[in-house]
């Protein structure tokens, strides 16, 4: 079987998703049996003109980055968005505000107008170019990444869960965060991560994005039941799903 020529690129992000590839440890060696990295700045010093499989990590926050991304898209047969930043903008969307100049001043003070500090509202990769597949999560799950790469190498379509994180909590016998009186987004968030956050002692903050048909009405009722407000829910949802959070009305 011919190895897929793989490239990895990053835009505005923490590069934690790429780190997951290194974190596969010995599994990385297995991966190298089916893909050949031809460009991966963080790990190797090669560059290439074309790729079968391009992974793009990070959000798009500048005009020049849109161009770079479009160029990558042109060279790539399959383009996969890697991690929340790439899939839906992730935490980077939190900076989007009506007044971007004010945002620049907040960080760079008097120097904010210097041209190299220009920034635009955060976009997900899919808002700039066509994305063929997504690996969700912040960071993405190593298991899911491996699975998706294997599917692509075997020329079949990966199937990823569309049900909420609660399923995985139940299977792990994790005690529900609502029992600790905490606002957990697991009820409306796509599973596939194996629910590490509730198992690790924290609520799910929704990094994999919402399920296809989130029952936000249901979520509001739960807030009442546990003495929380929709504002609590929305403020947590904003972290990784600011677009949806804004649509979630309430006091």
């Amino acid at each position: 079987m011919k190895k897929l020529r793989m490239a990895i690129f990053d835009f505005a992000c923490c590069e934690g998703c790429q780190l997951q590839i290194v974190n596969m440890e010995e599994g990385l060696l297995d991966l190298l049996d089916i893909v050949e990295p031809v460009e991966w700045r963080e790990a190797i010093s090669d560059q290439s003109e074309e790729y079968d499989l391009a992974f793009v990590e990070g959000s798009i926050t500048r005009e020049e980055d849109e161009q770079r991304l479009k160029d990558i898209r042109q060279r790539a047969r399959i383009l996969v968005a890697l991690g929340a930043c790439a899939v839906n903008g992730g935490v980077n969307r939190l900076k989007n505000a009506p007044d971007m100049d004010e945002v620049r001043r907040c960080v760079y003070g008097n120097s904010a107008t210097m041209p190299h500090l220009a920034t635009a509202p955060t976009k997900a990769v899919g808002e700039v170019v066509k994305v063929d597949f997504e690996v969700r999560g912040c960071p993405m799950s190593r298991r899911e990444f491996t699975y998706i790469v294997r599917c692509l190498a075997a020329a079949t379509t990966p199937v990823v869960p569309t049900y909420p994180v609660c399923v995985e909590c139940k299977l792990r016998e994790t005690v529900c965060r609502y029992e600790f009186n905490e606002v957990c987004l697991g009820v409306v968030t796509r599973a596939g991560c194996n629910a590490p956050c509730p198992a690790g002692g924290q609520w799910c903050y929704g990094c994999r994005g919402l399920v296809d048909d989130p029952n936000v009405n249901g979520a509001k009722d739960i807030m009442d039941k546990y003495g929380k407000t929709v504002a609590d829910l929305r403020s947590r949802m904003e972290l990784f799903n600011s677009v949806e959070a804004r649509q979630c009305q309430g006091q």
């Binding site: 075997a154 020329a155 079949t156 379509t157 199937v159």
Partner: protein
């Protein structure tokens, strides 16, 4: 954890989930999305199915999908499947070349009563789209034993002319003096000279004698609603209707729970149902 290599135990033969090897003997493009496969079990034995039954087709690393047997049981060691490219397994199946191995479980499920109540009666087949695939098995069977049945009518409805399958057979059917074949398309194109409109239009025109006929229908979920109403309008009784239903299936043997239609299992009590059984089963049609 202990693993018993099952090939060494007698029990392995009894593993309901273990596919048996079969080989692709030929493949024929039917339409842009449908392909006909001729398969033979590697053990050389006939599949042993009845018209209307289905098999579970496995491709390693991709998965399994239920597919109706489209050929009539005729004693040969070959059988035919029509596969529409719909998802993972069916797409990978389309990539299967001659000589490639697939896994087969089954045949499973109920069948059309070709050896039972159909005998001696007028038979009306109503096929919507891919529904022709399973019905073809029964149609062939009936035609092979033509003298056992009364009038034979086949009504075939399809979205557009390019989706017609088995053109030679359709042609043959339309010429045969011992049967009636009528077809219609939802949308005609430049080449199409025949009927245009939904399949129910054919029903009044088919001169079905409600007293003598048994109707056997197979098509997409939406088709049944209209076909049944139309059959009522020509006084066909519930007792004289059989339908074949499709549901999601993960085992084919009544364990996985996916294909439940109310309390019925599409893989055990179906896919072929005597229509009265479905009356009052809200999820059925």
């Amino acid at each position: 954890m202990m693993q018993t290599p099952a090939s060494t135990t007698a029990e392995a033969d009894a593993d309901l989930y273990l596919p048996r090897p079969a080989t692709v003997r030929s493949r024929t493009v039917l339409t842009a999305t449908e392909m006909l496969f001729e398969l033979a079990m590697d053990d050389g034995k006939p599949l042993g199915h009845m018209p209307g039954q289905f098999v579970e087709v496995s491709l390693p690393g991709i998965g399994e999908a239920p597919i109706s047997v489209s050929s009539s049981p005729d004693g040969r060691d070959r059988f035919e499947l029509v596969v529409r490219r719909a998802g993972r397994v069916t797409a990978a199946m389309h990539d299967c070349r001659m000589g490639e191995r697939v896994g087969i479980r089954g045949p499973f499920g109920t069948h059309f009563p070709v050896d039972g109540v159909l005998r001696g009666r007028d038979v009306v087949f109503i096929a919507g789209g891919l529904g022709l695939a399973p019905l073809r098995s029964a149609i062939q069977y009936v035609l092979n034993h033509r003298k056992d049945y009364g009038r034979v009518t086949v009504l075939y409805g399809i979205k557009s002319p390019v989706e017609r399958m088995f053109l030679d057979e359709l042609d043959d059917w339309s010429r045969r003096p011992d049967m009636t074949f009528m077809e219609t398309v939802d949308r005609a194109d430049a080449t199409w000279k025949g009927n245009v409109g939904v399949i129910t239009r054919l029903i009044p025109a088919a001169e079905i004698d409600p007293k003598r006929s048994i109707v056997v229908a197979c098509g997409p979920p939406i088709m049944y609603k209209f076909v049944i109403v139309s059959l009522y309008s020509i006084d066909v009784a519930n007792e004289d209707i059989y339908v074949s239903l499709e549901r999601r299936m993960k085992c084919g043997i009544g364990k996985c729970g996916h294909c439940q239609i109310g309390g019925l299992y599409a893989c055990l009590e179906g896919p072929v149902f005597h229509y009265p059984v479905l009356l009052g089963v809200e999820e059925a049609i």
